[in-house]
């Protein structure tokens, strides 16, 4: 009870879980900038600059683009509650925990949800979406998770968007674990609503959920019959604050926006395509190392997500014990399985500032030694050697 009397003493973790990722020192430094009020004209350029850079990262020129003052789950909630009215039919293809959460959230918006299940570890393919839409009439929206954080699977969005629009529905995309780390072009791919989170490949602290609505979504929103059930997440009222009218809606999380601006600046400096390439190459090094250790990857070949790699826990290995040892002996965080996958997979994230060759070598070396102690195989450095083959190129 009296522990709060002490200063915080926390270990200096290397964050290789499903997020948050480590944050660049410049991002932390930005939070020490002078606090301004949310209606101070000197603060408004910060909003404009964040919006401009966020549009570039999302690949969109549309105005209704802003970071929600809340975390990624609020992004999902905003995506559905702004365009879905009670009774609207919504198709959600579920290939992991976050697809399941889409079903939950759309249902709480009063949607008539048609849930299509795909085995966890498999992608959402355009054929599955086409089949689902052919079996339904008057579908208002289709929800798809671009990068399933629970399974490490990437689904082919561009082809899915074509199918969805062929059936005159809106495409709602969860890009929480892809935005800033793998290719995603909202306008070119014709995505109607896309949301993400600040703390993964974007390299900012957790607390903001970027979201963007394309023209079809804005039209649906403006023609609603019932009000959006959440005032806090009502995009029209949020837009009133983010646009030139600067009408008060909420007290913006000022310091988080300073941090987010700096994280976006770092992306601009690196270049978006170079950043995707860095995530691809670093993940390739990790996968090569894991395969050299004869560890099985969980995600389907061809659909493996670069920012997050999933590994099947070998037989007779205590998954949680390995994670604890990584914490205590190496100060490394990796993720465990969510839902049915608890104890069955590990999740290694290489996102944002955490995505670098040195972290790959460290986690492979640590994992090899901890597994050896649990009797998996002797540690000879095979994982590190295989990873070096790929990473040395960079």
């Amino acid at each position: 009870m009296s522990d709060y009397l002490n200063e915080l003493k926390l270990p200096n973790r290397i964050l290789l879980g499903p997020g948050p990722s480590n944050v660049h020192p410049r991002v932390l430094q930005a939070m020490l900038s002078p606090m301004l009020g949310h209606l101070d004209p000197d603060f408004w350029p910060v909003l404009d600059q964040v919006r401009d850079m966020l549009c570039l990262v999302l690949g969109t020129t549309h105005n209704w683009t802003l970071p929600l003052p809340a975390t990624g789950t609020a992004g999902m909630e905003a995506a559905f509650c702004n365009v879905v009215e009670p009774g609207d039919r919504v198709v959600i293809v579920v290939n992991g925990f976050f697809g399941g959460r889409m079903v939950e959230i759309a249902s709480r918006c009063g949607a008539d949800v048609q849930r299509i299940d795909v085995p966890w570890g498999q992608p959402v393919l355009p054929e599955i979406v086409a089949q689902a839409l052919s079996a339904q009439s008057q579908v208002k929206a289709v929800g798809v998770v671009h990068a399933e954080t629970s399974t490490g699977v990437l689904s082919p969005l561009q082809e899915i968007a074509q199918v969805v629009h062929h059936h005159d529905a809106l495409l709602i995309v969860d890009a929480v674990t892809s935005l800033g780390g793998v290719e995603l072009c909202m306008d070119e791919w014709d995505i109607d609503i896309c949301y993400g989170a600040s703390q993964k490949c974007l390299g900012a602290p957790p607390g903001l959920a970027p979201i963007s609505l394309g023209p079809r979504a804005v039209e649906v929103l403006t023609q609603r019959k019932s009000p959006v059930q959440s005032l806090y997440l009502d995009m029209a009222t949020l837009e009133d604050y983010w646009s030139e009218s600067r009408r008060y809606h909420h007290t913006a999380p000022i310091l988080m926006l300073y941090a987010f601006r700096e994280a976006l600046r770092l992306i601009m400096e690196e270049g978006l395509r170079q950043r995707w390439q860095r995530h691809a190459q670093t993940a390739a090094g990790l996968r090569a190392g894991l395969q050299a250790l004869e560890l099985e990857l969980f995600a389907a070949p061809g659909y493996r997500l670069d920012p997050l790699t999933t590994i099947v826990v070998p037989e007779n290995i205590d998954a949680a014990q390995v994670q604890r040892q990584l914490y205590h002996e190496y100060n490394i965080e990796i993720g465990g399985g969510l839902g049915d996958l608890q104890g069955k997979i590990w999740r290694i994230g290489l996102m944002g500032d955490s995505c670098k060759a040195s972290n790959v070598l460290l986690v492979l070396s640590a994992l090899e030694h901890i597994l050896a102690r649990q009797g998996y195989a002797e540690a000879h450095g095979a994982g590190v050697a295989a990873a070096q083959q790929i990473l040395a190129v960079s």
Copy 2:
């Protein structure tokens, strides 16, 4: 467009508006502590300590007490959407902008809202609540704003709570501008739901909304027939993360929680009653100074809020111009009027770390000189002198 290429260059404001307030350097420093994952066992003590201290600040021993990962408006939304089901009758007494927002939010939850209007600047009195409840049957909840941020009025909660419970309804209280700055004792006063915001008298950055549910509210929540319309703000699922089960609900805004913990520690060090007393005395100094300048206070006598003082803009004075001059010449932010009061009142906040004698003297001196230039009265330092009479005692 290319402004984001530059580092942030922001003025060093003295924040005397309706929030955010200035933040103690230790609060900023805390945000530089090592980032941990939201499921890291080494992070959990932070959650426990925040909860323990928040309970002390709210004057409650009840468990369902936590800071929502969003701003104050989300606190209001959570308060209503967790206990109100479609069709439930809710009485809201509106004496300002935020009472009006309660009506809006409760309506979006599907409530049958009975709105009682009180002139802006006047308090919500127990008699008004009693009259409203006698005219209605089966009222599920009553919403009251403790400290109306739009008018600077404090309403007598304890007496209102008795009336509300006499009619078997729940009392929902907005304590956004009172929590940490004026007396508030959730258990002793028998408040069922109370929410606030991090960035005012609590002295943390904006981004979190503390909320607490008492036993009646928890019982109503657990006996609901329909799910809470927001998963993000569903207190039962949030509680699953904040309690020992530590079940994943959202990625906690780690750095904001470090900052909030440090702000709460500063309150513990100062003492809650001492802090209320500091806000009372500093505000008394400001009011004395304003009255010496013959400026009219907007809030009804006897119900004036210490953390936020409202002033009637004198005739022939351009309210916005005065605010701009305070920004540009003195680096001071004060607030203008919201809604119908735009251009008609100013709002001077003395909250958290911004609440100190030196700020009172500075803003009185600045205001006197700016008003003199607009022809209001010659500046002779009368405001500062009157304030000193009171502030010198401290």
